[in-house]
């Protein structure tokens, strides 16, 4: 009896006796609403990738165990090659790729941000730790620096005209059209976080990626640098660039048609 009476009295106090508490509740509701509105603002946006290049991401991508990566890499070897050089031109080499690039591509495959029939289910079966370990293993594989090594570069060198076209774009870009030099982001001059090395990559694979960027079929580049560049390039230029890198010419600065500067 007294207990019930007490509860009623306490409840009534919320309304009559202590307006600050009600005010507090309402302010809380206001904050919740603002949060809801904020979340609602970004609902239908196209997000190219969930990877953000914060120091934490870079630490995570660098935390793998090389040996465990070696064991896991047995599932990848029949496509990407025993030593990271794949036998087929349309399957990418993983040897020579920077660790942030491998990390980002595997996470994008896993999140469905980059579409590939074999890679999406494979990446979905990997845990965060698996990805970090594979990254540690593949990013430390030796690179064959000899362009005459036919395991790495089965493709013949392109003709001199094409070679010159590619060489200029890689080293100087094209200021008139606003195309930056490839090497400013892809190395060896400088690397942008997450930009894969092209120097050791297969030609047919590169061509396919450039065409997919141009048409928007591949759209996982953060802030759209590659979709923009691939669209500005002509068909002939895309082919020349793929052939130049595919033949291993990017590795050797002496192979440009112009004297070294």
């Amino acid at each position: 009896m007294t207990e019930t009476g007490g509860r009623v009295a306490r409840n009534r106090r919320i309304w009559s006796g202590s307006p600050p508490r009600l005010l507090g509740t309402m302010l809380l509701a206001l904050a919740a609403t603002a949060l809801l509105l904020h979340a609602g603002d970004t609902a239908g946006d196209h997000v190219p990738s969930y990877v953000e290049w914060t120091p934490d991401t870079i630490a995570n991508a660098s935390s793998g165990d090389e040996f465990r990566g070696l064991l896991l890499s047995r599932h990848c070897a029949h496509c990407h090659g025993e030593e990271g050089f794949s036998a087929k031109g349309d399957t990418p080499n993983l040897a020579g790729m920077a660790r942030l690039a491998i990390w980002k591509q595997l996470l994008d495959f896993r999140a469905g941000k980059r579409i590939s029939f074999p890679m999406n289910p494979i990446a979905q079966s990997l845990s965060n730790k698996d990805v970090a370990d594979l990254v540690a293993y593949y990013s430390k594989l030796p690179v064959f620096y000899d362009p005459d090594d036919k395991r790495a570069f089965p493709q013949p060198a392109p003709d001199p005209v094409q070679k010159g076209m590619a060489w200029r774009l890689i080293n100087f870009g094209d200021g008139e059209r606003g195309i930056p030099p490839c090497q400013a982001c892809h190395g060896p001059l400088a690397f942008r976080p997450g930009a894969p090395a092209l120097l050791t990559q297969n030609g047919p694979y590169l061509l396919q990626q450039l065409e997919d960027f141009a048409t928007g079929k591949r759209a996982n580049d953060i802030n759209e640098p590659m979709r923009t560049i691939a669209q500005l390039l002509t068909d002939a230029e895309r082919r020349a660039l793929a052939d130049y890198y595919g033949a291993g010419l990017g590795l050797n600065p002496g192979t440009g048609p112009e004297p070294r500067q």
């Binding site: 009623v8 409840n11 009534r12 919320i14 309304w15 509740t25 309402m26 509701a29 206001l30 904050a31 919740a32 609403t33 603002a34 809801l36 509105l37 904020h38 970004t42 239908g44 946006d45 196209h46 997000v47 190219p48 990738s49 969930y50 953000e52 290049w53 914060t54 100087f172 870009g173 094209d174 200021g175 606003g178 195309i179 930056p180 030099p181 090497q183 400013a184 982001c185 001059l189 400088a190 942008r192 953060i222 802030n223 759209e224 640098p225 923009t228 560049i229 669209q231 500005l232």
Partner: protein, 179 residues
Amino acid sequence: MNWRAVNWRKLRTFLITAFVLLLIPATRFYQIDEPILRLFHNPRRVDPFSLHVEGEFVENNLGTEQNSDGSVTVRMIGQQYLFIPHCILVPAGVPIHLRITSPDAVHSLAFLGTNYSVKVTPGIISLAEMQFSQPGEYKTACREFCGAGHYDMRSVMKVVPREQFPALHDGDRGTCGAQ
């Protein structure tokens, strides 16, 4: 009315729920949602790492937006070594509110042949008020050395007569790229 029989706890829960449910459409209706959001974060500060994931500079919000007062808002990203979108379309003779930020380094967006130049800083939204009286193609260039590809960091602003500017509906953004 027997006030003793009222369940105050239930009534309170009901009233607060109703209040919250009404609040969401009400803030939109009275257009006070923006000011409320501004209480919670500084509108000119952005996280340079997550421009592509959330907020004002996500991909489909870049380019030219039509405002109800006839002016336009242009949103861009200046990054090593490109301005995105690479070609911007705006109408002549209307005020242009430019909003631009950077994910990586300091850049400077200069419209060649004009007095307009904007410093672009990571983490901050740079603002500029511009207006072009003459239609034409204005080239832009980066005027703050930002690295290996700096000298190729150029883009285009296309100014078209007002009647040629396409009608942009809610959510549409104008650029002159291949579309």
